[in-house]
């Protein structure tokens, strides 16, 4: 820690995971990591009060004290002129979650299975293959009134009704296929794990009737608004009062959205001793206001599209003076083009780097009589430009701030409050497991893990019918559920079939030959796989028992290859998961494996 290259570097499974999370793809947040309002919080005042932390420590930057500036600017962005002080900037128009209710993937499909969700927009997703307990997912789709499948190809989700075990004449779901343009056919941005927002111009034009997502959303929105205008719908204001003007000449305009995300001055204003005119783009989130004078669709991206232009489209090649590969003029990083967050944690109390050779920021202000007299940081954009906490002579300063400005206390946290379990990590067995007791503690499985109770949520722990541990993963030749790669002949040539890897010991024991087709079964489903007998799998000794593990890639589905025999390994996986994120437990579950008797 404290050196260039240190710290956490999240590896993402997709190029824009960071961007989609920042813009609130998940249910629990609004853009910029603002909190999702829940039904008990009925007024904006309550909402802002609840989520604006107060710190009595004068050394704590406590940046979230600015929360109302960001929440009000977001509401102004959503509802435009319809957001006024008198209507709490449209707070009542925001959808609210039920308090304590989770709306993750697992929860949504559980509700769908029970029949309470009637319509579903599957946007660039293939849950019929990617969803844990995919058999339950497929049955859930059959309970819908309508399904809109937005994708670049037809997939197992859009065609679920003619899939294995389905009787099309008994399925009432109306399915609409909206062909989408692929990424290179669209203009817009992605944000990588380093928070670099990178603008991409349009390459080839979309083929046939396919359209960029932006156009699909805008046109769908326009049609919904027309329908609500005609009357009959419940709560039309939530749709009709939206600011919905992101088209130019009838086409989605990515620049209009990017500017809205950055934010505008909505009235003439003087902020931080600078004068702005109505319609000016805000230079950074430091200028956002809680009184409705500014808008910003995502406060952390404020500064990405300013009077200086589209900052994400910059392609400058010059490095910062510390020469550690920050390239501050290439694209734009949130927040405020800071390339490494919490970078003041890499300096000592006097603002000098812990590692002289691999420094990120350092304080370079003038010194008079052993005291800092002027303020100047060099290197990366400092995470808070205050003076250091100490002068060169070791005396304390009162105008400095602690390094971790996004925590209320100002300090890093070994464990964060607000998690479903903890505070310390604990070993639990998976919900489906091969042992009757946890060898580390008296508690076998995580008591806070989500458990669903439909007839499709079967579990079989220590069940002789399912004696082996199953796990799933991916192959590098196929992408996610293989929708973009399975139809690609060169990639299918490399990985033509779903396989199950097992140890030589297990193969011997079950008389399975390398390369033969076998059936893998769990309490929830089964599929046919090619056996790959490998030295890379070894039996494990757990307690006094020998436990065998088998592994399968989940990248396949019945739509392609044409044989229809290569299925998703998620037919086996359980619908349970992490108690906080509800990321499904697809890495450990119980299966059996058997030879296929033919003829």
């Amino acid at each position: 820690m404290g050196v260039a290259g240190g710290g956490v570097n999240a590896l993402r499974g997709e190029s824009n995971v960071q961007g989609s999370t920042d813009h609130a793809l998940l249910f629990h947040i609004l853009p910029g990591y603002l909190k999702m309002p829940s039904s008990p919080i009925q007024t904006l005042a309550e909402y802002n009060k609840l989520f604006t932390p107060l710190s009595k420590n004068p050394l704590s930057g406590n940046w979230w004290q600015n929360y109302p500036k960001y929440s009000v600017s977001l509401l102004k962005s959503y509802f435009g002129e319809n957001a006024t002080k008198d209507n709490e900037f449209g707070y009542s128009l925001l959808p609210k979650t039920e308090a304590g209710q989770s709306y993750t993937w697992l929860d949504l499909f559980d509700e769908m299975y029970k029949g309470s969700i009637k319509g579903f927009l599957a946007w660039g997703m293939n849950p019929a293959c990617s969803g844990s307990n995919a058999g339950k997912v497929r049955k859930s789709l059959a309970k819908l009134d309508w399904l809109v499948n937005v994708n670049i190809f037809d997939n197992e989700t859009g065609s679920f009704w003619k899939g294995p075990g389905m009787n099309p004449s008994k399925i009432k779901t109306a399915v609409f296929m909206l062909p989408a343009a692929v990424s290179v056919e669209k203009e817009g941005s992605i944000t990588n794990s380093g928070r670099w927002m990178q603008w991409r111009y349009q390459g080839p034009k979309p083929l046939g009737n396919s359209k960029p997502d932006g156009d699909i959303i805008m046109e769908l929105g326009n049609m919904l608004r027309e329908a609500y205008k005609k009357g009959g719908g419940k709560f039309p204001d939530a749709v009709l009062k939206l600011k919905w003007d992101y088209m130019t000449d009838g086409k989605f305009d990515a620049h209009k959205v990017a500017k809205e995300i950055n934010g505008y001055f909505l009235e003439d204003a003087t902020v931080n001793n600078q004068q702005f005119k109505k319609g000016d783009l805000v230079p950074s989130f430091a200028f956002l206001q809680a009184d409705g004078k500014t808008s910003s669709g995502n406060w952390i991206y404020s500064g990405s599209y300013t009077g200086k232009g589209n900052m994400a489209a910059r392609r400058g090649q010059k490095d910062a003076p510390n020469n550690i590969g920050l390239y501050p003029e290439f694209s734009w990083a949130w927040p405020v083009n800071r390339r490494i967050i919490y970078n003041r944690a890499a300096v000592d109390l006097k603002g000098q780097p812990y590692d002289e050779k691999r420094w990120v920021v350092k304080f370079d202000g003038e010194v008079k009589d052993g005291k800092y007299a002027t303020s100047k940081w060099v290197g990366d954009v400092p995470d808070g430009g205050w003076y250091p906490l100490q002068n060169p002579d070791g005396t304390e300063r009162s105008d400095g701030k602690l390094a971790f400005i996004m925590t209320k206390e100002g300090y890093a946290q070994i464990f964060g409050p607000g998690l479903a379990d903890g505070p310390f990590p604990e070993h639990y067995e998976p919900l489906e497991c091969p042992v009757e007791k946890n060898f580390m503690s008296a508690q076998l499985v995580n008591p806070t893990a989500p458990v669903f109770d439909t007839d499709a949520d079967k579990f079989a722990s220590c069940d002789p019918r399912f004696p082996y541990v199953g796990t799933t993963y991916r192959v590098s030749e196929h992408w996610q559920t293989g929708l973009m790669t399975r139809p690609q002949a060169w990639l299918l040539e490399l990985q033509p079939q779903v396989f199950v890897e097992m140890s030589e010991e297990l193969a011997n024991f079950r008389n399975i030959k390398n390369g033969e087709r076998v059936k893998v079964t769990s309490a929830r489903g089964s599929l046919e796989c090619t056996a790959v007998v490998t030295k890379r799998f070894k039996p494990m000794k757990i307690g006094d028992s020998i436990v065998h593990q088998v592994g399968m890639p989940y990248n396949y589905g019945w739509r392609w290859p044409a044989s229809g025999k290569e299925e998703s390994a998620n037919l086996l996986t359980p619908s349970t998961g992490d108690p906080n994120t509800r990321i499904p437990e697809t890495k450990a579950f119980m299966v059996n494996i058997s030879k296929i008797k033919r003829g």
Partner: protein, 239 residues
């Protein structure tokens, strides 16, 4: 202009981007394959497959190693197949780069003879008798581009450039790898333009990792075949 590849198998991850890039640049059709109990596919080189990454699981000194070997034509410095064909319109060595090039005229050659002359078992025969194999992406190289397999390699396993530079790079890497794996070696570096660095015994990686003949050069079959040929066809270098 004398070119060579350096293939550092110690950093190869068997992503097989090179296999796909080769097919893409050459617009070669995919083969219908099945999983044969291994990730390796297609099963072998063919008329439509110039490159196959071999994958072997070996226990070495009690530790499991997964060995990867991107197999392709070695573009021999003195290519036996050129000598065997003895027909520059069918098989020739591009003087500028050293690439060994097969043309459509290979259709008229004795394919069996040519294939058997190759110490690395590389050329493959099409339905009509034409022979095919890697051509060093000569069209790309002549236009200042690296071969497609090199261009796509994300780990630095595939390298291409001036022979001198590649030999220097190969020896530099050999020195580094030897510190960890004392048995590391370069395979037939003096005889081929595709220089492999392996960490362990080459025969563990692929049956044809090193030249199949004890002495590089004329094979028994080749010698036999030559005996029945008019004397004027004997290439200069064999005289």
């Amino acid at each position: 202009m004398d070119k060579s590849f350096f293939i550092d198998t110690t950093v190869c991850t068997a992503c097989r981007g090179c296999q796909v890039a080769c097919k893409q640049w050459k617009n070669l059709p995919a083969e219908k394959t099945v999983n044969r109990g291994t990730n390796e596919n297609p099963a072998d080189l063919s008329f439509n497959t110039y490159k196959v990454v071999r994958m072997r699981e070996e226990v070495i000194d009690g530790k499991l190693k997964w060995l990867f070997f991107p197999e392709q034509c070695r573009h021999c410095v003195e290519p036996p197949c050129v000598g065997m064909a003895d027909n520059p319109a069918a098989i020739f060595k591009d003087e500028a780069t050293g690439a060994v090039i097969y043309t459509a005229k290979t259709k008229g050659l004795n394919a069996k003879e040519i294939i058997e002359s190759c110490p690395y078992n590389i050329p493959r025969k099409g339905k009509d008798g034409t022979l095919a194999k890697c051509d060093m992406c000569l069209d790309r190289v002549q236009n200042g581009l690296p071969p497609a397999c090199v261009k796509t390699c994300p780990t630095g396993a595939m390298n291409f450039g001036e022979r001198k530079e590649m030999l220097a790079l190969a020896n530099e890497r050999l020195g580094e790898v030897k510190k960890v794996c004392p048995g590391a070696m370069l395979l037939n570096a003096d005889d081929v333009r595709v220089i492999y660095l392996v960490a362990y015994k080459p025969e563990l990686y692929s049956k044809y990792a090193v030249a199949s003949n004890s002495a590089f050069g004329i094979t028994r079959q080749m010698a036999l075949a030559r005996m029945f040929r008019p004397i004027r066809n004997i290439p200069l270098r064999l005289v």
